[in-house]
Amino acid sequence: MAATKTKAAHNVFELAAPRVTPMGSAACLLEGEGPMCLPTQRRIWAVGRAAGDLKGVTDTQPGMNNLLVLYDPLATEPEALQAQLLALWIATPDTPAPGKLIELVVRYGGDGGEDLEEVARKKSMTPRQVAEMHSSAEYTVFAPGVIPGFGYLFGLPEPLFLPRRDAPVNRPLLLNVFIAGLQCNVSGPPVPGGPQVGPTGWYSLGQLIDAPAPFDLTRDPPGLVEPGDRIRFILDEVLE
């Protein structure tokens, strides 16, 4: 397996070379090298599409510059599959990916934005400055998986970088906009009547206003966003 030298920018995990490691007996994780970025993610999506056709592969799931590949261990040779994935990664160029633009209105602070003030304090900014900086960026949906129907977003402005909390805290789940590390996401109950509170190590900046349900089986497709979509957060108001 390739060398796994890491370097610390904001003390964020970064690989000098790509690697594939086992995720138990029926999955493996391909991780791209270098700083987290959109071109790497476009390659991840392309490899994910191609990997779906490999013998024994049952599902694939992009993460943040990485790809989880699930397989039937009795229908493939796991070591050979790992080598195939690494070769596929190296051979796959940056491939443009289609995506739609989605605008989501946010009320920053207040209920559902419990951590706005703490983030502002840690960044020596005002809550409004944090909200304006957060809503000034365009985000790309990198990966599914925060809640059904939504995903992990890339594009958080560097000055808002914050490591995850050491110990998770309980936050209301009201379609909140969360940040952690260099990532952003929306979390909440995927269906009416779902859990109203949950533990998280992320920071809650605000709450979506009039947002459609992230996951709705009567809708085609059922998920609100797909990898490659772009998100703009529209600043509605800042509650201080």
């Binding site: 490691t21 995720m23 999955a27 799931q61 993460g63 990532q183 009547g193 779902g194 998920g223 797909e226």
Partner: protein, 341 residues
């Protein structure tokens, strides 16, 4: 072809219709769900001659009382719940014919007997033909968080009526039914009678943990805490697991059995209802063939991790396949086809 087969007379919360899970939906952030003790379901289905992925009932809280609505057959696998059919004991890991009007009652594992052969938490009730509820995204498993699948997307409650798929019940050569060698006996693992042992393949961040953490992970027993459910199991030990270099991780897809270590150092094992993605460093992942051992671990029970590689994991999967194939042969000998009956 399906018809009402079981009526729920009494059940606590958190019991549900489950099958082998909902694969292939990760692009929507939809995880596997499904029976936590998937092997128990596969055994029940093998004994009844069902399709391997036919749905059954996952029973994790008791007492449960069910009334049989028409003649058919059931299998009880997983935790030994001192089951009674019209008051007569039904052995664990057993398939038997049932008649309309009979009442099946299950008690909490260990409540009536202290001499349980193995740790026991979740029972599985399989029915001939499988529990018939509509498929959602390719599976009948209840997704409680998303409120779909299973029976109306929710846990069972008194008054529910469950359909079963088979129009005609299989006939048993012996009306008392027949049993399977339990997996704990057929597939023994580990030499600590006080602890359950599971095999783990080290994961990507394993090398980032300290030597002391590595030693503690493999050598110490880990206690299951009461903060454990279908989403995951929280463990506690005497030595918190620490990384030598702490870095901010990138979120990535995760699977059932992944042993994640939050900054506090107490590992969490992800189970069927957990998130599809996470960002905590991973010590390793419990191999699929050992997930059923986790499914039966009650709080306060001890767990030990045994290091394993891909070849050993494959051997374990093949051993489990052999065990199930043997049960299918046993079933073929013990059941008569409806035409022959």
């Amino acid at each position: 072809m399906s018809a009402p087969f079981l009526e729920v007379l009494a059940t606590p919360a958190l019991n549900s219709v489950q099958d082998l899970g909902r694969p292939g939906q990760r692009r929507w952030g939809i995880g596997p769900t499904g029976m936590v003790d998937a092997l128990a379901l596969q055994v029940g289905n093998a004994l009844l001659g069902n399709a391997p992925d036919a749905a059954g009932l996952e029973l994790q809280l008791f007492p449960v009382r069910l009334r049989v609505l028409r003649d058919g057959a059931i299998a009880l696998t997983g935790a030994d719940c001192d089951a009674r059919l019209d008051g007569r004991p039904v052995p664990p890991w057993w398939a038997l014919p049932v008649r309309a009007g009979q009442v099946l009652e299950l008690s909490p594992p260990g409540a009536t007997r202290r001499d349980l052969a193995a740790p026991a938490l979740r029972a599985c009730l399989s029915v001939a033909g499988g529990i018939d509820v509509p498929e959602v995204l390719g599976s009948r498993a209840t997704h409680v968080r998303c409120a779909f699948g299973g029976l109306e997307g929710r846990a069972l409650r008194a008054g529910d009526v469950l359909d079963a798929g088979a129009a005609q019940a299989p006939a048993f050569r012996d009306p008392a039914g027949f049993g399977a060698l339990p997996p704990a006996t057929a597939l023994p693992l580990g030499d600590d009678p006080e602890a359950t042992t599971v095999r783990v393949i080290p994961a990507a961040e394993y090398p980032a943990f300290t030597d002391a953490s590595h030693a503690a992970f493999w050598n110490d027993p880990w206690r299951v805490t009461i903060q454990s459910d279908r989403m995951g199991m929280r463990l506690e030990g005497t030595t918190p697991l620490k990384r030598a270099v702490v870095q901010e991780m990138r979120s990535h897809g995760i699977v059932c059995g992944v042993v994640q270590v939050p900054p506090g150092g107490h590992p969490i094992i992800q189970l069927n209802d957990g998130n599809t993605a996470g960002g905590y460093p991973k010590m390793g992942v419990v191999i699929d063939p050992d997930l059923w051992r986790l499914a039966q671990l009650p709080p306060r029970r001890l767990l030990r991790f045994q290091r394993c590689d891909l070849a050993q994991a494959r051997a374990a999967a093949l051993e489990q396949e052999d065990y199930l194939a043997g049960l299918r042969r046993l079933s073929a000998l013990s059941l008569m086809t409806p035409e022959a009956a």
